[in-house]
C-alpha cells in the first residue's frame, strides 16, 4: 500500500512557522510511505496535478495531505484523487495549519515536532483506510422556514417563487417581525411597513406557502433531505377565516386592558386585539392570560369569528431543509439598573421611540414625555446600552443602534424644528453605504453629539438628569433632559433555544447561532440541511437580513432541486456475527437509527455518524465506516510512539482549534494529551 505524503507550505501560513523540509524528510521514513513532497499550495491546480501524477506513476493507493483543516479542503483533495482513479475516501488530512502553525507561531521548533506527530498519525490512519461509496437517497423538496421576520419572509418568497413549497412558522400572531414595528428605516428614511407590508401579504396569498402563525416547532426528527417536524398551532380563540380584522366591534366591548407588547409597553391593548393594523393574517387574537372569559366579544362580533372554545392544534410536516430565521430580541434595559429604566417613566428604549414616531403607533407620531403626556423638547439618546459592555456580558457591537438613533434624531429634528437633541456615544459607527453621509446630515440638522458613556440617570422632582464625563473636555456633567432614549442592543431570541437544541445548532460565545464558516459559508449551519438567516446569527441591518434570507433560499434550492442527495459514508454498521443483542446501542443512539431485530441493524441513511453506539458496544460489534476503532487506535499509537511534550489534538470535524486559530490565540506547550 504505497502512501504519498504532501506537506503544504500554504504560502507562509505553514512554511513561515514549521520546517516543511524537515517534515518532508520525516514523512519519507514513515512506514508504507512511497513518496513525500513539499507543495507550495497543495490546493492549487499545480499541487493537485502533482498528486495525480504521482498516483499514476508510483501507483499510490492512499494519500496524506498535511495542510489545512479538512473542513476547508478535504472535498478538494477527494475530488482530485478521484480524478486520478482512486476512491475519494483513500485520503487523510493532517491539519498542520489551524491545529499547529497558526496556534504555535512563537514556538517553531516545538510546532515542527507536533506537526511530525500529526503527520505520523495521519499516515498510520491512512494505512487502514478502506474504499467507501456514497449512498444516494431521495429527498423531500419542501422547506421549513422558522421565523416570519424580514429574513424569513425573503427566504420563503424566493423559495416559493422558485416552485418549492414552504412551511413558514411564526411564534407571534402576525408575521413581519421587528421591521413591521419600526417607523422609517435608515439610510433612506422610507416607511418601514410601506415596503414590508406588500411582502407580508404576498406571503399570505402565495399558493406555495403554508403559513403557521402563533405556532411553534416542538420536535425535529430525521436528517438532511428528510426531516419530520412537529409543532403546535396555539389557539387564537378567533377563526382567522371569519375574522375581518375590524377589531373595533370586539375590542371596544372588552373590559380588560393590558400593556401592548407590540408597542413595547407604552401603548395599551385589550385582551382581544390586533397586533397592529397591517398584521398578517389580519385576524384578531385573544390573549388567554388577560381574558376573563366574559364573552362580550363573542356577542359583539358581526361574523361570529370569536371562538373561546378553540383548542391548540398539533401539526406534523415533512421537509428536506430547514431555514432558521428566528431573529433577535431587544436587550432588557432593566439590567442596566443605573439608567432607571422601569423606575423612571421618562427613560424609554429605541423601540418605544420607534412606536411613538410611527403614525399608527400609540401616540400617532408624537414624541411625548410618558410622565406628563406633553411633547418632549429635549431628547437624549444613550448609545451602547447592552452592547460593547462587559459588565452585562455583551462585548459585541449591535451594529444598528448608532444608525437607528441617528435616524430617530433626524426624524424628531425635522418634525419639531428647534428641539434640543443630544446623542451620547462612545464611537459613532456608520459603516455602510450612504451611512457616513447620513451621519453628516444629522450633524447639519443641529443634533448635538457628546462623546460620553453616561454613568447614571437620576430623577429629581419628576425630571431626569444624566450624569456623565464628557471625554472630549474631561468634565463631569449633570444635564437635564425631557426624555432619555436608551439605544438598546440586540440579543439572540431566547425563544429560539428550543429549536437550536432540537437541531443541534452551535452557538458563538455571544450566544447567537454559529454559521458553518465565518466567511465562506455565511448562511449554512453546522448541520446538513440547516441554514441560518438574519439576526439569528448576529445583529444585522435589514438589507443584509434580506440578502441572507435569499441566500439561504438559494442554498436550500441547490441542496434539494435534484430530488436526491449523496450521503457521506460516515455511518455505523453492525457485524452480525459479533452482536450479542444487548440493545445498549439502541439506548444511546440519538437518531433512533438502530433496531435490534436479532441482530442489531443500523439505518445508515438516518445515522449521523456520531459514534456513540460504537463506543457503547461491549463486544465491538458496531463499526464506524469513517473513523474505525482500528484507525483511531493506530493514530493514538502513532501519537504516543514518539516522545511527546505538547498536546496532540485528534481530528474532529468540529474541533474548536479551527476557530481558535482563526481568532489568533496561541497555545503553549506542556504535557501531552490526546483526545477528541
Amino acid at each position: 500500500m504505497p502512501i504519498g505524503v504532501y506537506v503544504c507550505h500554504c504560502g507562509l501560513n505553514i512554511a513561515g512557522v514549521l520546517d516543511v523540509e524537515e517534515l518532508k524528510s520525516f514523512a519519507e521514513k514513515l512506514p508504507d510511505v512511497a513518496v513525500a513532497r513539499e507543495l507550495q499550495f497543495s490546493c492549487s491546480d499545480i499541487g493537485q496535478e502533482q498528486i495525480q501524477k504521482d498516483i499514476a506513476e508510483l501507483n499510490l493507493d492512499r494519500i496524506v495531505v498535511a495542510a489545512c483543516s479538512p473542513r476547508l479542503h478535504e472535498p478538494t483533495f477527494r475530488r482530485a484523487i478521484a480524478k486520478a482513479g482512486l476512491n475519494p475516501y483513500m485520503l487523510e488530512m493532517a491539519n498542520i495549519r489551524e491545529h499547529c502553525s497558526w496556534v504555535h507561531m512563537d514556538q517553531p521548533a516545538m510546532a515542527t515536532e507536533k506537526a511530525k506527530d500529526l503527520i505520523a498519525m495521519a499516515v498510520a490512519k491512512a494505512a487502514l483506510l478502506q474504499p467507501l461509496e456514497q449512498e444516494q437517497i431521495p429527498v423531500n423538496k419542501d422547506v421549513l422556514v422558522v421565523g416570519g421576520g424580514v429574513a424569513g419572509i425573503a427566504a420563503a418568497l424566493d423559495l416559493a417563487d422558485a416552485g418549492f413549497h414552504v412551511f413558514l412558522v411564526e411564534r407571534r400572531p402576525t408575521i413581519g417581525g421587528y421591521m413591521a414595528l419600526l417607523t422609517d428605516v435608515f439610510p433612506t428614511n422610507d416607511c418601514s411597513i410601506c415596503v414590508l407590508g406588500p411582502k407580508m401579504s404576498e406571503v399570505f396569498n402565495h399558493p406555495n406557502i403554508t403559513l403557521y402563525t402563533y405556532s411553534e416547532v416542538l420536535g425535529v426528527e430525521g436528517s438532511v433531505g428528510n426531516f419530520t417536524v412537529s409543532g403546535v398551532h396555539r389557539a387564537r380563540y378567533v377563526d382567522p377565516v371569519l375574522c375581518k380584522g375590524c377589531i373595533n366591534e370586539c375590542a371596544d366591548v372588552c373590559p380588560v386592558e393590558v400593556p401592548n407588547e407590540f408597542d413595547f409597553g407604552i401603548g395599551k391593548r385589550k385582551a382581544i386585539y390586533l397586533p397592529y393594523p397591517q398584521a398578517v393574517p389580519l385576524s384578531a387574537c385573544v390573549d388567554p392570560k388577560a381574558c376573563i372569559g366574559c364573552g362580550r366579544c363573542v356577542e359583539s362580533c358581526p361574523t361570529q369569528a370569536v371562538k373561546l372554545d378553540q383548542v391548540a392544534e398539533h401539526f406534523k410536516i415533512n421537509v428536506g431543509a430547514i431555514i432558521v430565521a428566528t431573529g433577535w430580541q431587544p436587550f432588557d434595559a432593566t439590567r442596566k439598573e443605573e439608567y432607571g429604566f422601569g423606575r423612571f417613566r421618562d427613560v424609554v428604549t429605541t423601540l418605544q421611540i420607534e412606536r411613538m414616531l410611527n403614525a399608527s403607533g400609540p401616540t400617532k407620531g408624537d414624541i411625548v414625555r410618558p410622565s406628563t403626556g406633553e411633547v418632549a423638547q429635549s431628547i437624549a439618546f444613550l448609545q451602547c446600552v447592552g452592547s460593547r459592555d462587559a459588565t452585562i456580558g455583551n462585548i459585541y457591537c449591535s451594529r444598528i443602534c448608532c444608525m437607528a438613533s441617528l435616524k430617530n434624531a433626524q426624524l424628531i429634528a425635522e418634525k419639531y424644528p428647534g428641539s434640543d437633541i443630544t446623542i451620547y456615544y462612545i464611537d459613532i459607527r456608520a459603516g455602510g453605504e450612504g451611512y457616513e453621509e447620513f451621519y453628516m446630515r444629522a450633524q447639519m440638522l443641529g443634533i448635538n453629539f457628546v462623546r460620553a458613556r453616561v454613568s447614571r440617570i437620576e430623577e429629581v422632582d419628576g425630571d431626569i438628569y444624566l450624569i456623565f464625563e464628557d471625554t472630549q473636555t474631561g468634565e463631569i456633567k449633570r444635564v437635564r433632559h425631557d426624555i432619555a432614549v436608551l439605544s438598546v442592543g440586540l440579543e439572540p431570541d431566547e425563544n429560539a433555544d428550543v429549536l437550536g437544541n432540537l437541531l443541534g445548532l452551535s452557538r458563538r460565545p455571544d450566544r447567537f447561532f454559529e454559521i458553518a464558516h465565518p466567511k465562506m459559508r455565511p448562511v449554512e449551519a453546522h448541520i446538513d440541511g440547516g441554514f441560518i438567516a438574519g439576526c439569528a446569527s448576529g445583529p444585522k441591518e435589514i438589507p443584509i437580513s434580506i440578502a441572507q434570507g435569499s441566500a439561504a433560499a438559494a442554498k436550500a434550492i441547490r441542496l434539494l432541486q435534484k430530488g436526491f442527495l449523496n450521503l457521506e459514508p460516515t455511518s455505523a454498521y453492525v457485524d452480525p456475527d459479533l452482536c450479542i443483542r444487548c440493545k445498549l446501542c439502541v439506548d444511546v443512539c440519538p437518531q433512533r437509527a438502530i433496531a435490534v431485530k436479532s441482530p442489531a441493524y443500523v439505518d445508515e441513511a438516518a445515522c449521523k455518524g456520531c459514534g456513540s453506539c460504537a463506543a457503547a458496544c461491549p463486544v465491538d460489534a458496531i463499526k464506524m465506516r469513517l473513523f474505525s476503532d482500528e484507525q483511531i487506535l493506530a493514530q493514538i499509537r502513532a501519537a504516543t510512539g514518539r516522545d511527546i511534550s505538547h498536546p496532540v489534538p485528534h481530528q474532529c470535524p468540529q474541533h474548536p482549534g479551527d476557530v481558535f486559530s482563526a481568532g489568533g490565540h496561541q497555545l503553549r506547550p506542556g504535557s501531552p494529551a490526546t483526545g477528541c
Binding site: 444511546v588 514518539r642 498536546p647 481568532g663
Partner: protein, 135 residues
C-alpha cells in the same frame, strides 16, 4: 464524530502508551451537536476515573471539558489548566511507584523500543494491556 465516540479503550491505550493525560472536549452540556452524546461521554469518563483509581492510576489524568466549536479560547484555557494539573501529578507511572514505595526512578524520557520505552519503565503496560484486551 461526537465526544460519545471516545471509547474508554482509546483513553487507556493512550495512557498505556505513555501519555501523561487525556483531555476530552465536548460541546457544552445541553448543546450536543447530535443530541445528548456529551452526557454519555461524561458518564463514561466518570466510570473510567473509578477504574483508574482502582488500578492505582491518578484519575486526574483523564479530564472532560465543555467548549463550543467557536470557543477556542476556552479550549486553550482548559488545556493550559490541564497541563498544570498533570505537571502536579507528574509523569505517567509516578503514582504507581509511590504506592509501591519504590525509590524514585529517573524521569521517563528514554526512546528505546517502539513506544519510547515508557511503558516498560513505568510498569503499567500490563495493566493497560489487560484493560484493552479485556474489552
Amino acid at each position: 464524530m461526537c465526544s460519545a465516540r471516545v471509547d474508554t479503550s482509546f483513553v487507556l491505550e493512550a495512557l498505556r502508551r505513555g501519555a501523561d493525560g487525556v483531555l476530552i472536549a465536548g460541546c457544552r452540556l445541553g448543546e450536543c451537536h447530535y443530541h445528548d452524546g456529551n452526557y454519555q461521554a461524561l458518564q463514561r469518563v466518570n466510570v473510567l476515573k473509578g477504574v483508574l483509581e482502582r488500578i492505582g492510576i491518578d484519575p486526574g489524568r483523564v479530564k472532560i471539558v465543555w467548549c463550543a466549536a467557536s470557543e477556542g479560547e476556552i479550549y486553550a484555557q482548559d488545556l493550559r489548566e490541564f497541563i498544570g494539573e498533570l505537571k502536579a501529578i507528574g509523569p505517567i507511572g509516578t503514582e504507581l511507584r509511590k504506592s509501591k514505595k519504590e525509590p524514585a526512578e529517573e524521569p521517563i524520557e528514554g526512546k528505546s523500543g517502539p513506544d519510547g520505552g515508557r511503558a516498560e519503565k513505568t510498569g503499567i503496560k500490563a495493566i493497560g494491556e489487560h484493560e484493552v484486551q479485556g474489552r
